[in-house]
């Protein structure tokens, strides 16, 4: 599968004729002086440094702030490509919310035998505290980031449904700002759909799911683990842009049946908490008792209708990698429709037959931890050394149920600026999806991540990935 020539989104199978969405950009690009674009490329870095859009890489000695490399060549989708994609995303996201409601209520899907009982019962992402509870507005995943990859003109796969705390939206917004300030003429030449109102859309989506206790205009706060978190910039950025408070656990406490923040005038209630803290740290009285990032007692207030927590606790059961392989069934079960977005064929190493197959084909497969994220603890068979593969084999055999495996997809490429000019690099796409009661709102575009190393398929920023501005053209 990997030795096929990957699909290039700018040129397709042609050498020099760009595909329609890239036509205008490509002709603009040819008019420019290559050195000038190279210089602009370096300018972008200064822009990001001043804005402070940096991240910390876990596991590096020097906890210096680093920039995610930004590539000046945009990733472009046509209006029709986008509208087809959004239909698939919307269908999937509706199914995920229906699934979450069902799994915490009657569990019809288990009764129907479509998903094995043990996958839920033995899953640490399933929270007993959510059983029988209806989150405000019936929304579980207010914010969702579906990772998509592409292998051909019409083939998109959903690779991961980030239904817990999807990150990266600040990069989507800052990438656009950067492009507009560096290449303003492009934006008058092409009609590119706006992304800059995302914070307002996010605010509206959250407000629409205010809790019963809320009176008047909802008070929204973003809960961050703090300044040392790798995504702190994004937390501050979003709070700032949507006019919300940015709080940490120690700013909050339960008072008078509400969750309240310490202000210069005393404790004031919060209606909606957009939390960027994992479930297990949310409430030391309910989950991990050693957590200092959460609010003691918040789960009681939540269950009593005193606050909206976004995303709802326990949504991790829907983006669990073990559940992932059942997504087509989930979509069919709740929508009664054929899934519009494809799922990558997935081997569950918990099943003996699949494990056997995976062990025999380690050099062809991508093997991932069921609960892993960020590109850590995974094996990319085709690019791994013999030694890496044999080391991974031992890890896998020690705990097979902890792994799934997928064929290596031949990810599409987009030309990317390198020292030697444009060169194709593999990309993925994370559109950001907002869910409010009865409505799914997808910001046109999303975050394109690009594997900057030649031939690499790993796009994670922690593993040498960069980002691109992502354009959806108007009709």
């Amino acid at each position: 599968m990997v030795d096929r020539v990957p699909f290039d989104e700018m040129f397709g199978s042609s050498e020099d004729t760009p595909r329609p969405p890239y036509r205008e950009y490509e002709s603009w690009f040819r008019e420019q002086d290559g050195n000038w674009i190279q210089r602009k490329s370096r300018e972008a870095e200064q822009f990001f440094r001043t804005t402070g859009i940096t991240f910390a890489v876990y596991g590096e000695d020097d906890a210096e702030e680093r920039l995610i490399p930004f590539d000046v060549v945009p990733r472009i989708l046509s209006a029709s490509e986008w509208s087809r994609l959004t239909r698939g995303i919307e269908q999937r996201v509706r199914a995920i919310n229906a699934f979450l409601h069902d799994i915490y209520h009657r569990q019809e899907i288990l009764r129907a035998g479509r998903i094995p009982q043990r996958l839920i019962a033995e899953n640490s992402a399933f929270l007993d505290q959510m059983i029988g509870f209806n989150p405000p507005g019936g929304v579980y995943t207010h914010i969702l980031g579906v990772d998509l990859v592409r292998t051909g003109p019409d083939r998109f796969y959903a690779l991961e449904d980030n239904a817990r705390i999807p990150s990266g939206v600040s990069y989507m917004l800052e990438n656009r700002e950067t492009m507009m300030s560096m290449f303003p003429e492009l934006f008058s030449r092409l009609r590119i759909r706006e992304v800059s109102d995302y914070p307002q859309r996010l605010r509206r989506a959250l407000e629409a799911a205010a809790p019963p206790a809320c009176k008047g205009t909802p008070v929204i706060a973003v809960l961050t683990p703090g300044i040392h978190n790798s995504a702190y910039f994004e937390h501050a950025f979003l709070a700032s842009q949507m006019g919300a408070q940015l709080v940490e656990g120690h700013d909050l406490r339960v008072e008078g049946g509400r969750v309240a923040m310490r202000t210069t005038r005393g404790y004031r209630p919060i209606d909606i908490l957009y939390r960027r803290v994992d479930d297990e740290f949310l409430d030391p009285l309910t989950f991990r008792s050693d957590s200092v990032l959460g609010v003691p007692g918040i789960m009681d207030i939540y269950r009593a209708g005193g606050i909206t927590i976004a995303n709802a606790p326990g949504t991790g059961i829907a983006d669990d990698k073990a559940i992932y392989s059942y997504m087509p069934d989930i979509v069919r079960f709740y929508t009664g429709e054929r899934p519009l977005l494809e799922n990558v064929p997935t081997y569950r190493c918990s099943e003996p037959d699949s494990l056997g197959y995976v062990l025999d084909h380690l050099d062809e497969l991508v093997v991932k931890e069921v609960h892993g994220s960020g590109g850590y603890g995974m094996l990319v068979g085709p690019t791994a050394s013999k030694r890496q593969i044999s080391a991974f084999r031992k890890v896998l055999l020690a705990d097979p149920a902890n792994y799934i495996a997928q064929p290596t997809l031949s990810l599409s490429t987009v030309p990317t600026m390198t020292r030697d000019g444009l060169s194709p690099r593999h990309v993925d796409l994370r559109p950001f999806v907002l869910v409010s009661p009865g409505r799914v709102d997808i910001t046109p575009g999303g975050l394109t991540r690009v594997a900057l190393k030649k031939g690499s398929l790993v796009v994670n920023s922690s593993q040498g990935g960069g980002t691109k501005d992502s354009w959806v053209l108007d009709e």
């Binding site: 001043t50 804005t51 300044i227 501050a236 408070q245 210069t264 005038r265």
Partner: protein, 324 residues
């Protein structure tokens, strides 16, 4: 400032962070001024001026750290390096600017994009310029850069921030620190300013006075208002009581009081800190230099420092900076 209108609640953490952001900026700038004054003295004398550098270290409360970590040499090169950038000095200009920027990150949602970017650029610029020991030929430029970066941050504050509680806390931080620093700088030389017949007119005196005025960027203002020349009495009065001079004790306390009064109106709440600020301001407004000299200049300055410190702590308490 205009009369307050209702605005969203402010997190105590942000008020605290903004106060410290501006205290750190103010202090870093004042240290740069002190160094400039020290260099000036060294220039007007042949050779090093160890006593001068020692007194500057005392003023910023860095003597102990300097003796513990440094070579103990009171020379321009060693002392300026310690004050500007030594990693062993938690109160170095670089450490203060980094702290201002860390606080700015923490309160990112309470300040404007421009204020954040100015603070971040200040940090990035000074980190580059102070990445290695500053050569003596570069020193003047680097000190100028510190003042310039500080001015850009202040400009962004005044040009872009809403006149709300966040702005009031920025003012409170700036002027609490300035009142404190000004009192310390005068106190460093209080003996020079004490009217003493034997010293008046001596050349040593003049150099020392000049240092004080320069440490507070007060030369021009003083000479404008006192064309008759330097006199201990007038200088002390100018630096402590003249509220036309924006670094005087009276002016600084006046700004703190003004910001507190704004908060009182906006919040509809009056605290102990309001009373303390009013008392201190009234005391300074009613004070005379004769009275101050009678009580003792050093004793008076120590008293003001104490009151300013108490006021700062009371503000932290009244606006709930920490969990009660």
């Amino acid at each position: 400032m205009n009369s307050p209108q209702r605005s969203p609640d402010m997190l105590s953490k942000n008020a605290d962070g903004i106060v410290w952001m501006f205290r750190s900026m103010e202090r870093s700038e004042n240290i740069a001024r002190l160094i400039e004054a020290g260099l000036r003295i060294a220039l007007t004398r042949s050779g090093e001026a160890p006593d001068e550098w020692r007194s500057i270290l005392t003023t910023v409360g860095a003597t102990d750290g300097f003796e513990r970590h440094g070579s103990g040499e009171y020379t321009a090169a060693v002392v300026t390096n310690y004050l500007l950038r030594a990693r062993t000095n938690p109160g170095s200009v670089m450490a203060l600017i980094e702290s201002a920027r860390t606080n700015a990150r923490t309160v990112r949602t309470a300040i404007t994009q421009e204020l954040w970017e100015a603070t971040n650029e200040c940090y990035m610029t000074m980190r580059d310029r102070l990445s290695r020991q500053v050569r003596s030929t570069e020193l003047v430029h680097v000190l100028g850069e510190i003042r310039r970066q500080s001015a850009l941050v202040r400009g962004a504050l005044h040009g872009t921030m809403l006149r709300n509680d966040a702005f009031s806390f920025a003012q409170i931080g700036t002027y609490l620190e300035r009142a404190d620093n000004t009192a310390r700088i005068i106190d460093m030389k209080y003996y020079v300013l004490l009217p003493s017949l034997s010293m008046v007119g001596s050349s040593l005196d003049n150099v020392q006075w000049d240092t004080i005025l320069r440490s507070l960027s007060a030369q021009r203002g003083y000479h404008w208002l006192h064309p008759e020349g330097r006199a201990a009495f007038n200088i002390a009065s100018f630096l402590i009581l003249d509220d036309r001079f924006p670094r005087s004790l009276a002016f600084s306390v006046g700004r703190v009081q003004e910001s507190l009064r704004w908060l009182e109106q906006a919040y509809g709440e009056r605290h102990t800190a309001h009373d303390m600020a009013d008392d201190l301001h009234r005391e300074l407004a009613g004070a005379t230099m004769e009275g101050i000299f009678d009580f003792g200049l050093h004793e008076s300055l120590q008293r003001y420092l104490h009151l300013v410190g108490m006021l700062a702590r009371q503000i932290e308490h009244d606006f709930r900076f920490r969990v009660a």
